[in-house]
Amino acid sequence: MNIPASDPKSVTGKPLIIDEKVDVLIIGAGAAGLEAAIGAAARGFGVLLVDENPVPIRTMGDDVPLHFGQGMAANARNRNAMTEAFVASEPRIEEAFETGIDVRLGTACWGLYANGTALGWMPGLVAGLADEERSFLIEAKHVILACGRRDMGLGFPGWEKPGVMGATAALNLATRYGALGPRRVVVLGSGTEALTTALALRETGVAIAAIVEQAREAVGDAALLLSLRHGGTEILTGHVVREATGRESVEAALVAVLDETGRPVPDERGIACDGIVLAVGATPVIDLIDAAGCKVTFQPERGGYAPTLDAGQRTSIANVYAVGDCAGIWAAKTRDRTIAEAEAARAVAALGTAAADDQAERPPSPEYDISGYRLAWVRASVVEARTEFHVCQCEEVTAREILEVRPPRNLDWQSERRNDRSLSTLLGEGPPNPDQIKRLTRAGMGPCQGRRCREQIAALLALGAAQPLSAIPLAGYRAPTRPMPLSMTAPVPEAPQQAEHWDTWFGMHAQWVPFWEVPARYTVATNDATGPVASE
């Protein structure tokens, strides 16, 4: 049989050049990732454990991977000290080193690739990693994602000021690095995640001026709340932050009471603080998980969009597991690391075994309706804000511009017609899609990759469409899930046979024959596919 040559412009026969191969790649060296690494090594697997921490201060300055809000103290510039502090603050990192595990800190994973219905080019599971100098590719038989958590952003006038930051960022800077700038903070939110964050910050010497909660009652653990109250923290339920004031950075939070309709009353008072910690919604970090194509659904009992998992922590992609906070966040898990460690142990036990049909055990029901709670926060803080501000800080898009689906201001679009094209005209038959809104308004399109705004935009769209948060599709994540300088791509080699074929679109000679030279009939046999070809 005459086997035809493959299309030279296609991926067929163009091997991807892989830097290293490992049995098990584990992404994230927190409680779950460490347990997974130590456990997998004990089972005899070759393990590579990577963690992006300590994140270079420039990256922190871009609010990647967490909303650091410029809240880094000066000592965050000392990279060696940051590395030492990071290792010292988690004894099991040393244990992993001593076990002989290949632990690489300061190494981020920016992409995970698996073959599927629309991809057959990968030699197996491929992960893209990057340290400060270069990007490289790893092939792994198994990947365990232990990527942790981040926080829903929540805007109000002045929220772009240094000192407004996510709870996870504040907690990491304070407890892992001893490098948190603000010394007196207001914490937004009263869920268990918010309260444990406040208490942990207090432990490190940060004064917790107030807990601000839009709901009538605090939603988290009463004992934690009491402990804060006894320590002198004001508990302001039925309140919202109207503005963060200050010249260079946050100097005060102006707060106001919400009336029965959820609208802030005109009376305001200032609370002196140099930090405002956003703790209204701890969210699993699913960027790699979603970008890889794992099935992700809105699961309120897991803190929002989270991977669907089986009892062995398997995602929908073969040999890809999720453990720890990126697999779901709930109050008990926040307070007890052994829950995350047990997930890691289940994933390790499942390595190399066939998937079973059993679903993961459902976490306990949330203490409160997280959809209603997060929508209420966005309504009180963003929709009812007294002045417009940028919900998307990168692209400078306001809530109104999002809801009115306005073209970005840089286009300076002045139409004679009144083009009344607001969210309602886009809705059509389905729920509003944040990716569609992103394409039209640029909200969520900037270098922070939507980390600060995506949950707020979803909430705004839900409010605009009178739908629950769960109805709003996830704004898709795409590799690189960490911004990557073009210059860092250069060291990754390309197969020579691939390098030959870039000057053309599909490499089809016939496609670019000018119309005045096109023959009347096309057959493969009579097609002249010789000589150079370039497309336009």
């Binding site: 296609s10 992409g111 073209p407 094209r421 000057d503 496609q511 493969v524």
Partner: protein, 388 residues
Amino acid sequence: MSAIKGASVVIVGGGVTGLSAGWWLARDGVDVLVLEKGLIGWEASGRNGGGCSHHHSPLFAEEQRLWPLMDELLGYPTEFRGERVRLAASEHQMALYGRALRNAERQGFASEVLDVKQAKEMVPLAGGTIVGGYHYKFGGHANPHRTLQAYAWAMQDHGGRILQHTTVTGFRSEGGRVTIVETDRGSIGCDSLVLAAGPQTGRLSAMLGQEVPVQSARCEMIVTEPLPLMPLGGVDGCGLYGRQTLRGNLAYGGGPHEWLALAEQGTPAKPTTPLMLHIGKRLAELLPKAAHARIIRSWAGVIENTPDGRPVIDRLESQANVVVATLSSVGFGLSPASGHAIRDLMLDGACSFADISTFKLSRFAELEPNWRELQGWQVKAASEALAA
């Protein structure tokens, strides 16, 4: 299930070709309904480089005439900007890219050959990697997302309708004419049909008794954070196509494609690959002064091609009231003209502004049945879905 009101012309496919055709028809007062299985512009139409410079095509002159008018005609911004530059990193590329000049000149469009100094002046982000380039005083680039929505809104302004999340499952005909489009949301009556369903065009045309031969592939692009605007954003070369957006981002694509066996229905997955790195490396070669810029996203699109890569815009022989259209992986830039051609074919029976005989289906009359295999368009991806 409530009945969906039929239309004089039902268009299957809310991509750039279907929406442009819908707009052209609606502005002539035709009652138009566009059916889209997902969201409009969600496939290749919204995932391309935004180029508008196709001098090999019989639609070229009309493409060039219309683009500068589109913002005004549509009433919504497309971000169109005229002219392009193509930079060459080698004499080989310089020779290869020169063909555009000859094609364009024959049709009355001017270009200029740039030496290294001139090229660097025109493209401030360029550097020592180039040997020269071309300045095409035609063509240009636009924002695909915004243009897609502009077509849709403009069509609606003229009374056209769009049904998203509506999958076509079959057709019913009477006397050699399609009268009913079957969908997952019920039957929809029509006097005429336009089939402009991208990768699904092959499967759907086969249901109508005359298959348009197409095969799908996945291609990839990347985008960087914004950089200061260059005087001219449409800069190609070094094996890449793309543009600097009006916001300043560099959006570029290129490299190998992967042929796909498309699932029966629905929205195909569009995974990206580490090809992102190879695109990034070339972009840093094309524009060395942008090497510090960070890639913030990559994306893939699924695109159909005919066996010769040329469009099909033709009436089916099997059904008298059906126009089929695929632009064969080069549809965005040509869309103002392709929609016009479809409108002409539908309403007047012939294209008024160009000879589009090279787009006829009859050219495939003697096509080998195993053309995919003969051209080496092998499918590598798993044919079965992974766990859903």
